[in-house]
């Protein structure tokens, strides 16, 4: 190959890279959106999407909103402003020291008016905890560990993993089939069906069945990691699991999510204890945390 040809190839390749990274950048938010939507670049990018990991932050947010709405159609909200604020402060602290502190619209926590012991995390960071679960917690470490477990489900996108792959492939094909900025009524109808299906997949796992063994273990591991990084003693999770495991069988009937999963609480407990033993140093518990927990939850007991 002649030197001149090589130079030409070099220049072309360099331009290709620069154009590729520059032309598709949207510098002013949605103002430039229509230009990108109508470009062949966008169409090709859609064709590259094929798994839950390719769901964008904004799409995750819209999926999460609707999953949250489905959860809230089954549960009433426990309207106690100081308690809601407290739970959000504990949750936000854990989020700040997690692997994924930023989601499209941030993390938000709500208490559900139910006596069953349950916590649920919708994609994007909509996290719910029942009044019954709060009543099981004896201190802030236990609450923080449960919230950290739920943040772990969000951080690892466990909810999105529940969506059937075939459904996602259909959606991505549909999204990529037209370059118009908005959908036609027929496209919208089809995509809404896929959206409903995806919500059904997530709700079934989240509300009805519970996550499988592997994902629960992973969320437990992340709970230990996030709680410790925040400065909480991670033994809050072992004490919580222990309390549930020791609950009388009759009382377990009212225990949903946290008991529905395949791993037995004792198995989870053993694994979490082993993970904590591997830590070199553990944060100390504090009187001020114990005090404010007692104050915030006094109305529950």
């Amino acid at each position: 190959m002649k030197a001149r040809e090589l130079i030409v190839i070099a220049v072309v390749l360099a331009l290709l890279v620069l154009i590729g990274s520059g032309c598709s950048v949207i510098q002013k938010g949605t103002e430039a959106v229509s230009k990108v939507a109508s470009s062949p670049v966008t169409k090709a990018a859609v064709a590259l999407r094929n798994s839950f990991a390719d769901i964008t932050e904004e799409e995750e947010y819209y999926i999460g909103r609707s999953v949250a709405a489905l959860i809230l159609s089954k549960y009433d909200v426990y309207q106690n402003e100081p308690l809601t604020q407290y739970v959000n402060k504990v949750g936000s602290s854990v989020v700040a020291y997690s692997d994924r502190p930023e989601t499209f619209a941030g993390y938000h926590f709500l208490v559900l008016n139910a006596n069953e012991v349950n916590a649920l995390a919708a994609p994007g960071g909509f996290i719910f905890i029942t009044k019954g679960l709060l009543a099981k917690c004896r201190d802030e470490e236990m609450l923080a560990s449960v919230l950290a477990h739920e943040v772990g489900h969000v951080a690892s996108k466990h909810g999105l993993k529940a969506i059937k792959k075939s459904r996602l492939v259909d959606a991505f094909k549909m999204i990529g089939s037209d370059v118009a900025a908005r959908y036609t009524p027929a496209e919208l109808s089809q995509l809404t069906e896929v959206f409903e299906g995806a919500l059904g997949d997530i709700a079934e796992q989240l509300i009805e069945k519970g996550y499988d063994r592997k994902l629960e273990y992973e969320a437990d591991e992340l709970s230990v990691k996030f709680a410790t990084a925040t400065g909480y003693n991670p033994s809050g999770l072992t004490r919580f699991l222990d309390a549930l495991a020791k609950a009388e069988p009759a009382k377990k009937e009212g225990v949903k999510g946290w008991f529905q999963t395949h791993p037995q609480p004792q198995d989870r407990l053993d694994k979490v204890k082993a993970e904590i033993e591997d830590l070199k140093t553990l944060p100390e518990e504090s009187k001020s945390r114990a005090q404010r927990f007692k104050q915030a939850t006094s109305g529950l007991k």
């Binding site: 390749l13 959106v33 932050e57 904004e58 402060k89 700040a96 404010r292």
Partner: protein, 161 residues
């Protein structure tokens, strides 16, 4: 053969430079966030940033990236708020078409978006979004979040390991 060597080096340098340039560009993928004065969540805000903003990497520390915007303002942001600008060299022979990121597609208002949610809601009128919207309004102001951490001896103010 000897004459070709500098050309090959030049070619390699150009490609590597271009790839590195592309790798150091990020797009904000969350609705809103902040550039912070230091790589900590509770550091003061330098500048508000929003989805679609383009930022260039200056440095990094753990999961935090120091970036600068087009106006030259610099600050720190957690990597979870950013989408690295990707360049797929293998896709190059197929032309430029493969080089947009999935997030640009979302920013193009396609995918599962408000239009799809509105359509879902019109089909499922029994599903209320009132509390979902109320939930999104729950925000802990920075000063309260810091006070909570300090009081509880948490995070950067106490027992974090």
């Amino acid at each position: 053969m000897r004459k070709k060597t500098p050309i090959v080096i030049l070619l390699t340098c150009l490609i590597v430079t271009a790839i590195l340039w592309a790798a150091d560009t990020y797009i904000v993928r969350v609705k809103t966030s902040s550039l912070r004065s230091s790589p900590k969540f509770y550091a003061s805000t330098v500048l508000a940033i929003k989805a679609g903003d383009r930022l260039e990497k200056v440095a990094s520390e753990g999961d935090w990236i120091q970036v600068k915007n087009a106006a030259g303002a610099t600050g720190w942001v957690h990597k979870s708020a950013l989408e690295p600008k990707k360049f797929n060299l293998l896709a190059a022979p197929k032309g430029l078409q493969s080089q947009a990121t999935a997030d640009e597609v979302a920013l193009a208002s396609k995918g599962f978006n408000k239009q799809v949610e509105d359509s879902y809601r019109s089909k499922n009128k029994g599903i209320s979004f009132v509390w979902v919207d109320k939930m999104l309004l729950i925000k802990i102001p920075l000063n309260q979040a810091v006070a909570f951490l300090k009081e509880g001896k948490l995070g950067d103010f106490g027992g974090a390991k």
